[in-house]
């Protein structure tokens, strides 16, 4: 089992080496990257916004109901919501959602191309298929996922404000004061750094599983599942490592 794991890790890094070789035609790669930014990034704005809105709403309500105490000022609800979203929820939850949505899409797209011999066709033409198919996806996710995280942070805070004021647990003034109180700009940098790591994990791990498929449609489904599971585990692992490195 350990040997198999090491073989997989080795194959992953060999694939990465192939991915990061010099592109044949930079203009073709540029066009492909733009396409991937729409497909993998822009198309995820909706789901990220919806989930972030409700996430912010629930965090605000839970913070409010768990800190009902006269000695706590209510603006701390806004502060708690902001920091929870900024430090953890937007980057990590967004990462996990994208591991499901984008990761499975990358693995099944590349996997289907493998089983229908489209990757063989690219190789026969002399195209570096790994670089042509995977590099634009990595660049697109690295560029767009931080934008998605910033959207998630903004929408989450708005969701908390709407839920908190609607439920009557905090006034609008207190919430706005709370989200500005003791703000540490580095937390945004921290969230973006985590997002970049997660984006790289999602794109490369999913592409690896899709690219290495052998078989047919059944294996495409299995690879898609493996891509989501392995990406999610790595995201959670790197979340711990990065938190220790960046906040200690």
């Amino acid at each position: 089992m350990i040997i198999r794991f090491l073989e997989q890790v080795g194959a992953y890094f060999i694939l990465l080496r192939k991915v990061f070789s010099r592109p044949e035609k930079p203009y073709v790669y540029y066009k492909q990257t733009m396409h991937e930014m729409v497909f993998l990034g822009l198309n995820s704005v909706g789901i990220i916004s919806i989930i972030s809105f409700f996430m912010g709403a629930v965090i605000t309500l839970q913070t409010a109901y768990n800190t009902e105490n006269p000695i706590y000022p209510t603006y701390l609800i806004g502060l708690g919501c902001r920091d929870s979203i900024l430090l953890e929820f937007s980057s990590t939850i967004t990462g996990l959602i994208l591991a499901g949505k984008v990761g499975s899409s990358i693995a099944s797209e590349i996997g289907t191309m493998r089983v229908t011999e489209q990757i063989d066709a690219l190789e026969t033409m002399g195209v570096n298929s790994a670089s042509y198919l995977i590099l634009p996806k990595i660049i697109a996710t690295l560029l767009f996922n931080p934008v998605l995280t910033l959207i998630s942070i903004s929408v989450g805070i708005v969701g908390g404000w709407i839920a908190g004021t609607s439920a009557g647990v905090i006034t609008s003034q207190d919430y706005i004061y709370g989200i500005q109180y003791a703000f540490i700009p580095y937390y945004v940098t921290y969230a973006i750094i985590k997002t970049l790591f997660f984006a790289f994990i999602i794109a490369t791990v999913s592409a690896y599983h899709g690219y290495r498929i052998q078989g047919g449609s059944l294996e495409v489904g299995q690879a898609s599942t493996k891509a989501v599971v392995h990406s999610s585990i790595l995201i959670l692992l790197f979340n711990v490592i990065l938190t220790q490195l960046l906040l200690s």
């Binding site: 073709v28 229908t116 190789e123 026969t124 033409m125 002399g126 195209v127």
Partner: protein, 251 residues
């Protein structure tokens, strides 16, 4: 010309090709025939470099292909056109974009020049008014023809076809065979076709190599195939009832 010498290939220790030596001539339609599982596709993919061979030599004219560095192989691959069993057209691209793809990747032509070449290639394979359609919107026969158009877009020196008429009706299969033969002669290409279709064998098989269980059993032309002494080949050629009757009447 493509020359294969003493080629061996095994998967997980199980031999799939054993000591294959054969020369495929330029300007000629060379056929690899044999039953399913005889090693035809593995041989074809080994020649193209999609499978690493265990030992042996693959020569593309004067170049020993299997010993070349990645970039040198890439230069030869630009001269290769390949038609896959399932066509292998890119799903996310239109017919026009599929045929233009090799031109986008390997030439510095303007869009007008590329479009002109695309239209020429599509015209050559008798595809009309389908430029903007996606592969999912065209028939199996059309897909094969678009794949041929894509394969010839860069004027290749070598054309490989893996079961070009699988899944096609007999009339469309004949059209595809004729097209492959015409293109081969027109551009003086070295064409290798994998097939187990006897119609193709009799119609375009100028040079035929018969594989059985990964071993080359017979080599000859479509004129010689009916008189062969090779029992495995005879079993293959006269497998269906019509062929058996024909053989009886010839005798």
């Amino acid at each position: 010309m493509i020359r294969v010498e003493n080629l061996n290939k095994a998967f997980n220790g199980k031999p799939v090709l054993s000591d294959i030596s054969v020369t495929f001539e330029a300007g000629m339609t060379n056929l690899i025939i044999g039953r399913s599982g005889s090693g035809k596709t593995v041989l074809l993919k080994s020649i193209v470099g999609l499978h690493e061979i265990d030992n042996g030599e693959i020569w593309y004219d004067e170049k020993l292909f299997n010993r070349l560095e990645f970039n040198e192989k890439k230069e030869i691959r630009k001269k290769i056109g390949m038609l896959f069993q399932g066509s292998a057209l890119f799903d996310s691209r239109t017919v026009e974009e599929n045929v233009r793809f090799p031109l986008d990747m390997f030439t510095d032509q303007s869009l007008e020049e590329k479009t002109e070449r695309v239209n020429f290639c599509l015209d050559r394979v008798n595809i009309k008014n389908a430029n903007k359609l996606f592969p999912s919107e065209i028939s199996g026969g059309m897909k094969k023809r678009v794949a041929i158009a894509r394969a010839i877009a860069l004027n290749p020196l070598y054309l490989f076809c893996d079961e070009p008429n699988s899944g096609l009706d007999p009339l469309t299969a004949i059209l595809i065979d004729e097209l492959i033969k015409e293109i081969t002669e027109e551009y003086s290409m070295t064409t290798i076709v994998n097939t187990h279709d006897m119609n193709s064998v009799m119609k375009i098989g100028e040079k035929i190599v018969f594989l059985s269980d990964g071993v080359k059993c017979w080599e000859g032309s479509n004129k010689e195939i009916l008189d062969s002494d090779c029992s495995a080949l005879n079993d293959f050629v006269f497998a269906n009832a019509l062929a058996k009757q024909l053989r009886k009447s010839l005798k």
